[in-house]
Symmetry: C2
DNA sequence: GTTTTTGCACTGACCAGTCAGTTCAATTTG
DNA sequence: CAAATTGAACTGACTGGTCAGTGCAAAAAC
């Protein structure tokens, strides 16, 4: 069964619903297979892009039969969409944890931003392929998973925005800063610096990158150290 | 072959002209067709990605037959590669111009960076689709045009790095800043803030975005205005 | 005995690239 | 001038190949 919505034919899961996309519990065997498929898909799609990556390739790299892919995911797009949700979920949790830990330990909001920068770098260092793929898809229009991306992006950016707002309320930040734009700029700063680090100077340490970004955050670029 | 007219040596398009891919002169008809193809390709690829965009679509949107695409470009990849070169060339020229203008008018290096931020924003505002597509491809590995991208990226980033280095030499910037990383971070800041502006709050003015980024650059986030 | 996976043949849509033929503006010829 | 010629530019039907998704019987795992 399917329904036409704005020119796209969208499948409607009625009845059944077995495990559903959000994959809450499920048998651990199934979950392990899904995990293998995520891992295979993420690197292939990061390298080649979504359309250029075939389901056969994904199955082969995961060491699984093609039929298994379709047993676990309704389609190639759905696999990808769930992969996105999964990955950004990890990032958001990590950012939130960094902000909360800083607050708990009595740090300032600048400390919190700094901790989030580090958390972002650690994430990118650990999941470079995912980051790459996410950046490549985020600003595209007219794609099936567009709305998923927007929701998921907002979750992550909202964490940064939250810290900025708290800082303004507490008088730590100027109340003239533009919260959404500044948050986006900070995210971009970390994202692009980290991707460049990975791609073009992988020999640098995470601490190097972190301190360069800290300095920029704290306006210690112009003037003496 | 060439002809002298009023002291100038003017090339005359006679016969063959093979043309070659770099398209220096070429007949104006041909050049116009190429331009139409660039414009059609840039928006389609930005929306859908390279692999998901068909040559038929590009031809149709350009109002041209499919054969014409192959008459003008050796392949779909070559069309794309030349498009990349073309676009980044425009950006680099614009950044360089901003830096030079500031220097000529006696501005500081911070002024130069600020002018380059603005130039970047103006560029992205004018060519959002190109920017989007560039970001989506830049960090991919294993693609045919990988080397083109690296060269072309370095040209643009080098302009920023140049200004940073001059600022360090002149004592205006701390000599502890990490030039390549800071340049990448600055580019990322502008890129992501601008793309987010375009995608998620297009009603904001360029000046709004510019002043938010200026503030961040000058470390006026924490503390009073 | 139920769930999950396998292996593999098959289909129908789609698409990059080709090529024989057409158009047309500029040039040459009578 | 007009007719004939030239060749670059363009056309679009066609081809060979690829790939998402299907169907299913048998095996494996739990």
């Amino acid at each position: 069964m399917s329904v036409r919505i704005s020119g796209e034919t969208v499948p409607v899961t009625i009845g059944a619903m077995e495990s559903s996309s959000t994959t809450p519990g499920g048998s651990s065997r199934r979950e392990a297979t899904r995990q293998k498929l995520y891992e295979a898909a993420v690197t292939l799609i990061a390298e080649q892009g979504f359309s250029a990556t075939t389901v056969d390739e994904i199955a082969e790299r995961a060491g699984v039969a093609k039929g298994t892919v379709y047993y676990n995911f309704a389609s190639k797009s759905v696999l990808f969409e769930e992969l996105l949700r999964h990955g950004v979920g990890l990032l958001t949790a990590s950012l939130r944890e960094a902000a909360e830990r800083t607050a708990r330990e009595g740090g300032t909001r600048v400390d919190a931003l700094d901790a989030m920068i580090r958390a972002g770098l650690v994430f990118i260092d650990r999941y470079p392929a995912f980051t790459q793929l996410y950046v490549a898809e985020l600003w595209r229009t007219n794609r099936a998973w567009q709305s998923t991306l927007m929701v998921v992006r907002q979750e992550a950016v909202a964490v940064v925005e939250g810290v900025l707002r708290e800082g303004i309320e507490g008088g730590e930040f100027s109340d003239e800063i533009d919260v959404p734009l500044t948050a986006a700029a900070l995210v971009g700063m970390v994202l692009v610096a980290a991707l460049d680090w990975q791609s073009f100077q992988p020999e640098r340490s995470l601490d190097d990158v972190h301190s360069a970004l800290s300095r920029l955050l704290q306006g210690r670029v112009s003037g003496r150290p």
